[in-house]
Assembly symmetry: none
Homo-oligomer: 526 residues x 2
């Protein structure tokens, strides 16, 4: 049986403390979720801010294979006709083929929070859904606080669902907004609701406040829901949403359902990692299915026992979700996947089969020391070229020095810091010394490097550093922690990521910048 998957990472996930996604991040996440085979991707609130408006324009230019994009908003305001409601008009104007509107279903919330009558709320639901259907859109009705509402006044909660259903909602998704429900409660309410609106497609949207978001979604599916909402890695407000990837794995591997299909399921781990990196949130190593430790076995007794009876120590095959039974998580875990990845970078490793194991060992060693190649294709390509003896550096560093000066002028907030970087560099047999300035030390270094080599490599003028991310690894050790820097560089026609790692944030940045320029020059030279 097919269960529809509805991802809300870009909307509800972004409510998570600490997550702010750029427009480019959002578009890249859409591409990955589409490739994974997710059915619906909720992009944001087109009525609320310019970034989301720009997203809905840009996303229309992506060549998506499968996923449909949903815009999120609310029913019309009380006392306003759906046709005249600005929020609904913004949703229609977004160009998204799917519109999801949230409406109230808990009687007390209607009267106390919304401060209108129960009848008017039903009118708002009915008219809003009907209006959007009249506009030719696919409509999901998100029944807010449905489970609290059902407990307080089941007849009214059901009346809300019927209003949306009769107005033509393609799916009515029951929202466990407070996150406090338990699986047996969810199952009972979904079952009763399914019986009350036969033929209506139902979905489920949960939060993890009781620690049961995944189980609640599974319980809803058992009771008849056929659409599951969630976010990648469960990112979301408070304790987070249903972890969509874990639900997909449970449904496919343990309940015999189909979400994205067994082949695509192998992308789960890399999607989890990619989205975590994009959000600049660590994926916990103990995350189900996709965490680095999810299939890690401790040594000693277990290792030999596993050899004798592997089923006794793995609840599922790590390969089935693209993870592996080792400590190390990477999409490059095996030879086949490394060769596929290399092919994507234009490097044919079938001509160098004798070197593949060395390359894998090198990658594993580097990942253990903090590198991550998930979003650093440029650095990976350079690493492959080095192993194949095909790498010729365009320049070599003799030394750099960065000075940051900060003088407190008058009061507590009147400050001015200035950075200066001097680099000494060799291009062929010539030596160059250049000094660059910048607001910060990394910008100063970047400027100095470009000044030093632009005469030899005028192409660097076309390369622009467009994204700079810093991740502190092993944060418990404070400022002595390992720093991973990932930069994204664009030459106008494409962009590439590179990575640098060091205990010193300046050196990590330098390594990433050097790779970004080297890869750009290599790419342009081809």
């Amino acid at each position: 049986m097919k269960i529809l998957t509805y991802d809300s990472t870009l909307r509800d996930g972004e409510q998570c403390e600490g997550i702010t996604l750029s427009l480019e991040d959002k578009l890249r996440i859409v591409e990955r979720l589409d490739a994974l085979g997710v059915d619906f991707i909720e992009g944001g609130f087109p009525a609320s801010n310019p970034k989301d408006i720009a997203f809905f324009q840009r996303v229309q230019t992506l060549p998506l294979r499968h996923a449909r994009i949903a815009a999120f908003g609310s029913t019309c305001k009380k006392g306003v006709a759906a046709e005249e409601d600005q929020g609904l008009a913004d949703l229609v104007a977004s160009g998204a083929p799917v519109v999801t509107i949230v409406g109230k279903t808990w009687d007390a919330q209607v009267t106390r929070a919304l401060q209108t009558t129960l009848e008017e709320n039903l009118r708002m639901i009915r008219d809003s859904v009907a209006f959007l259907k009249h506009c030719g859109l696919q409509v999901v009705f998100d029944a807010e606080h449905y489970f609290d509402g059902y407990a307080a006044n089941a007849a009214y909660a059901l009346a809300c669902v019927r209003a949306a259903s009769e107005a033509g909602a393609d799916s009515v998704d029951l929202c466990e907004t407070n996150g406090g429900a338990l699986p047996f409660q969810v199952e009972e309410v979904v079952r009763a609701t399914a019986a009350a609106v036969p033929g209506q497609q139902l979905g489920i949207h949960c939060h993890n406040d009781s620690g049961c978001a995944v189980a609640n979604a599974l319980a809803a599916v058992r009771a008849g829901a056929v659409q599951v909402q969630g976010t990648v890695n469960g990112f979301g407000e408070r304790v987070g949403n249903t972890d969509l990837l874990t639900v997909i794995a449970d449904l496919e591997l343990k309940m015999g359902m189909t979400c994205v299909g067994k082949d695509n399921l192998r992308q789960l781990t890399s999607v989890a990692q990619f989205v975590a990196e994009s959000c600049n949130m660590a994926l916990p190593s103990h995350h189900p299915y996709t965490g680095a430790s999810a299939f890690a076995h401790k040594g000693g007794l277990h290792a030999s026992a596993i050899a004798r009876f592997p089923e006794a120590y793995e609840h599922a095959s790590p390969e089935s979700v693209g993870n592996n039974a080792r400590m190390l998580v990477s999409e490059l875990a095996g030879k086949a996947s490394l060769m596929a990845k290399a092919r994507g970078l234009g490097i044919d490793l079938t001509l160098h089969l004798d070197k593949v194991q060395d390359i894998l060992d090198d990658i594993k060693q580097r990942e253990a020391s903090g590198y991550s190649y998930e979003v650093a294709d440029g650095s990976l390509a350079l690493l492959l070229q080095r192993h194949l003896g095909a790498y010729r550096p365009h320049f070599t560093l003799e030394s750099f020095r960065v000075i940051v000066d900060d003088h407190e002028d008058t009061g507590a907030l009147a400050k001015d810091a200035m950075s200066e970087a001097t680099i000494k560099i060799h291009v062929g047999d010539q030596r160059f010394v250049a000094t660059g300035e910048g607001a910060g030390p990394v910008g100063a270094l970047d400027n100095a490097l470009r000044m030093a080599i632009v005469a030899f490599y005028p192409q660097v003028a076309d390369m622009e550093l467009v994204d700079y991310k810093v991740r502190i690894l092993d944060e418990n050790v404070g400022t002595d922690a390992i720093t991973r820097v990932v930069v994204t560089t664009s030459d106008g026609s494409g962009s590439w990521g590179t990575v640098g790692v060091s205990e010193n944030i300046i050196e990590a940045s330098w390594n990433a910048i050097v790779d970004s320029i080297e890869y750009g020059l290599m790419k342009m030279g081809e």
Copy 2:
């Protein structure tokens, strides 16, 4: 109805990658769990290592009020009489009043992994339990792989449970060892088992590999289990065990059961933090019930809605588990929520109503320029104090200079970067110059600042920078982007976050570090 709680943090929890507990850590954790009202505390394997042997000696000297200590081991070896088994003798010698022994219940595991007969395995269970009961001990039988075993050969799995039961086991705890089961499966098997051994106390032990460990434990309780095993924060091998504290909260607050009682329940958050601290593992901010964000509210609309209808936004009372409803300052909608937040920081703004609007305007302006106070209570407290005229800096900066030198020695990877920071600072009417070194520039600055002021403020020696996070804002502009640095500092008894923002990552770090020290000194001075 009373549900017994059985904590395995010190045994199964310590299997978690990265966790190593000292003997003192273990004893302190025992005291906290005892005070919380946990019924059983599993201390370790007395047969396996000297630290655990010492633990079982020392723990007998603790004046525990309620909890009973359990020693963990296995049934006797195949072909060995229980009376002559060294492992069982070590368990008895540990002096623990409770002994938990694990035994196999999956037929294929008996024949393939243990490599003995099904009959001999039943003999091992029966004789081991009977021997320990004969020694006057309370005995828990852990039925390993019970759910896989039941699926493969229900009759044999039940025979194992009956063998333990008939030999006098006080509790037979069914172990979902692989962690792959789902709640409806657990519920069905526990129900069938309870029917097969009427009168026998059953318990449940789960792992989180399917993301359902909490829900599985709750399902088992619904089916008749009256003892729940788990670990604090779910710490454990692979993806971890059942989070005992979340299960306790769900059972008490949502299922009407009694575990530790409503009064003790208020200790949950502090126990979760204490154990995380002892294990040197961060408690995720999104952890159910006990995480810092578990009751955090965001969103302008929400703040006013919460005031009107709080039940709609909290699935449980944060006070019931000793947590706080945290208002995320970034989305402060108005005066009321700022005043609530200030109250949480010990600052009463009702005495300064005329200044509240100015403070809000200042926060809004700072947030627009990149500050975020969501996780920076320390910086927010200082900002409030500045507005109230109550802020007196403990030191003022004249200037700092940071130098990072990097020399390429021979090849591409032979590098050595060194950082040095010199700061000139005033404390009262005295001027100090200090130079610090570090692997990176921020560590060097932090060292220099501490060296400069430690003579005046010896308390800084007790403050430790425990977390350092960097976020690049507006990433489209590359290295010129605004950098936000958030550091967390601990003084052993508590921790606080502070924030710094600048185009220059060094300056942003400096600002965050200065706030961290200033807030710490202010806090200690009170």
